[in-house]
């Protein structure tokens, strides 16, 4: 018997406002809703009943309707650990999270930032540490950061992505591009791990916008950072082979195949 729910699985179930952050991702199978109760203390979901009409859930549905976003299809997702806490440890608690509202929501293993979220200014060395951290690993795994992102394209084709996701220091998009949605991914020439994900190993070129679906501004930042990193030698790339014509450098008598030098 399926538990009817009008919740979109793209947004986690909201906790009550006095609950401490970070929230746990409630990834529950539609049939096993009771499993999520183990990870969430305040929401008590009864076993094998069809009721999800708790006040918390109603709040969510109302929010959904207000945003007017289309509900996505149900997906099978498993329960996860509390990922936000690890990321707090990584940054050393540098940023201050607003109470009662997550800074970044975790959905399907991808950190999806919500609209009107004030973008944090993360220094580069924090970003570099983040790339090696457990939080990053559990969010993105071994794939590039753009791999799981799906652009909400209105048609079938597109050449350019949007000009920018962040306007006035605030995320102006519901579905921000892979770089803008995660505050901890800072595009900088020193952050070589991140830059490598946007370079093709076959051609040595930066992937075009269509492939990675980053916004135009992020694309330009990446381009500059990659160029600078290559120039400094932080990014090692294959260099065109310089051919030499020995006739331009040596006189003809030295070019004979049996030339030998005897010191006088």
């Amino acid at each position: 018997m399926a538990f009817v729910t009008r919740i979109s699985w793209r947004l986690p179930i909201r906790l009550s406002s006095d609950c401490k952050l970070p929230p746990v991702l409630h990834r529950a199978h539609s049939k096993n809703l009771h499993s999520c109760s183990s990870s969430c203390s305040s929401v008590e979901l009864p076993n094998q009943t069809q009721v999800i009409r708790t006040p918390h859930v109603q709040l969510v549905t109302r929010q959904l309707n207000f945003q007017g976003r289309r509900l996505q299809s149900l997906r099978l997702i498993s329960s996860s650990t509390c990922l936000r806490q690890e990321s707090d440890e990584e940054n050393g608690g540098e940023e201050e999270k607003p109470e009662g509202r997550p800074v970044l929501d975790l959905v399907d293993g991808v950190r999806l930032a919500v609209r009107n979220h004030k973008v944090l200014e993360i220094p580069v060395d924090v970003s570099i540490r983040y790339m090696k951290s457990e939080a990053y690993k559990s969010t993105y795994g071994d794939e590039p950061v753009w791999k799981k992102y799906r652009r909400n394209n209105p048609g079938q084709y597109f050449d350019l992505t949007r000009p920018a996701c962040i306007l006035g220091g605030v995320l102006a998009r519901a579905s921000a591009c892979p770089i803008c949605r995660d505050d901890y991914l800072v595009v900088d020439y020193r952050n070589v791990e991140l830059l490598k994900q946007f370079i093709s190993p076959q051609s040595g070129q930066q992937y075009f916008m269509k492939k990675t679906c980053v916004c135009q501004r992020a694309f330009r930042y990446l381009e500059v950072a990659i160029e600078r990193a290559k120039d400094m030698g932080l990014l090692v790339h294959d260099v065109p082979i310089r051919r030499y014509d020995y006739r331009n450098f040596y006189p003809p008598e030295l070019l004979q195949s049996n030339y030998t030098y005897v010191e006088q």
């Binding site: 051609s203 030698g233 030098y261």
Partner: protein, 381 residues
């Protein structure tokens, strides 16, 4: 900057002075007028056109190194057939490294072909020839003289261009960059050849090469280069240096010497094996007589043949040295290395002597093993 230079190209219509174009190198930002004919006079006030900015001053300087080929000319010794044979032999030819995939925009799908035996032989020969081309060594030449020659002095031309020098470049097709005639007319009326920096700039304007930067790349500065080399990326730096500089430029030789020194300290000679840079690297070490680390590394590993080849190379480059005179039998590798160690390495390095002892023991134990195996086989058969 590149955009400005390209527009300049399109604006100049006629060639002036027998195939020579001229361009100004201003000290301050200035306006440039394209030249339309030899008869036309141009006055600074009537300049129209686009701005040419002087080169940006990053305050970046290329790394410098004392060990460059400045006194004796290495060219005759480098081109000696015996020397080149030894260098080629020691470089080796590992096809998996020589023909490795390079991410250089040209991607093609792999091709699977069925060959007969004869066709396979032909294909293998072609691969050998191609590998030889890829492993052709960058030229080792004497460093270019800093002083530039004066050509003439015309006092009548004094003061025609109060703030600028005029540079004349021969842009005829088919001339290599280092042979191009580039002359400079100064405000004093002196006509002289262009110096290294001016040559580099003109060549980059009229013959841009992919990978060559018109600014001082951070890679070759003292700030960045040690970090890159500490990560063991020697081949990358050497390839970039080949693209950026000419072999007779002091900057090229400094960068390359810096890389070789770093490589020598850490004994990472194998990173350049099967590349085009191994030969010049060896030549450099033997020329400057810095063989202690090399010999120690190879003798510890028991590679006596490599060590003996290098000593032979030493004898070819320093033909009047004691080692060359004392060498009697070139065919016996142990004798060759022993002579060298006893004459050159007694005072300088005890590690090489130790390494030689270790090598001898290694060879002895190998010989023992072989004898035992042969005896066992002999008994069984």
């Amino acid at each position: 900057m590149a955009l400005l230079e390209r527009t300049f190209f399109s604006l100049t219509s006629k060639l002036n002075f027998k195939g020579m174009r001229h361009i100004l190198i201003p000290d301050t930002p200035t306006i440039v007028i394209p030249v339309r004919g030899a008869k036309q006079k141009y006055h600074p006030d009537s300049f129209i056109g686009f701005r040419v900015e002087p080169r940006e001053n990053h305050n970046r300087q290329y790394v410098s190194h004392p060990l460059i080929y400045k006194d004796a000319d290495p060219a005759p010794r480098f081109m000696d057939a015996r020397v080149r044979a030894i260098l080629k032999d020691l470089t080796g030819c590992d096809h998996s490294k020589v023909f490795r995939h390079r991410a250089l925009l040209s991607i093609s799908a792999p091709e699977i072909v069925f060959f007969t035996d004869e066709q396979l032989k032909i294909a293998q020969n072609d691969a050998k020839i191609k590998a030889d081309k890829l492993l052709s060594m960058p030229p080792v030449v004497k460093v270019r003289a800093e002083e530039v020659q004066d050509i003439s002095f015309d006092p009548a031309l004094q003061g025609i261009m109060p703030n600028f020098k005029i540079v004349f470049t021969d842009i005829s097709l088919g001339i290599p960059d280092n042979k191009r005639i580039i002359v400079v007319r100064e405000n004093s009326g002196k006509l002289r050849h262009a110096n290294g920096a001016e040559r580099q700039r003109m060549n980059e304007i009229y013959n841009p090469r992919k990978g060559r930067k018109h600014y001082v790349s951070e890679l070759f500065t003292a700030k960045c280069l040690p970090d890159v080399l500490a990560r063991g990326q020697y081949e990358f730096v050497l390839d970039r240096a080949c693209l950026q500089f000419e072999p007779d430029e002091p900057e090229y030789q400094s960068v390359v010497a810096y890389v070789y020194e770093a490589l020598d300290k850490k004994q990472h000679y194998d990173s350049l094996l099967s590349t085009r840079h191994y030969g010049p690297m060896l030549f450099f070490l033997v020329w400057h007589k810095c063989l202690n680390n090399f010999l120690e590394h190879h003798l510890m590993a028991g590679r006596l043949d490599v060590a003996s080849q290098v000593v032979k190379l030493y004898c070819l480059l320093h033909q009047k040295s004691d080692v060359a005179k004392a060498m009697t039998d070139f065919r016996d590798p142990m004798h060759v290395v022993q002579t060298f160690v006893s004459l050159e390495c007694m005072d300088t390095s005890a590690r090489v002597q130790l390494a030689l002892k270790q090598c001898k023991e290694l060879l002895r134990s190998q010989q023992q093993v072989e004898q035992n195996v042969a005896a066992a086989l002999g008994q069984s058969s």
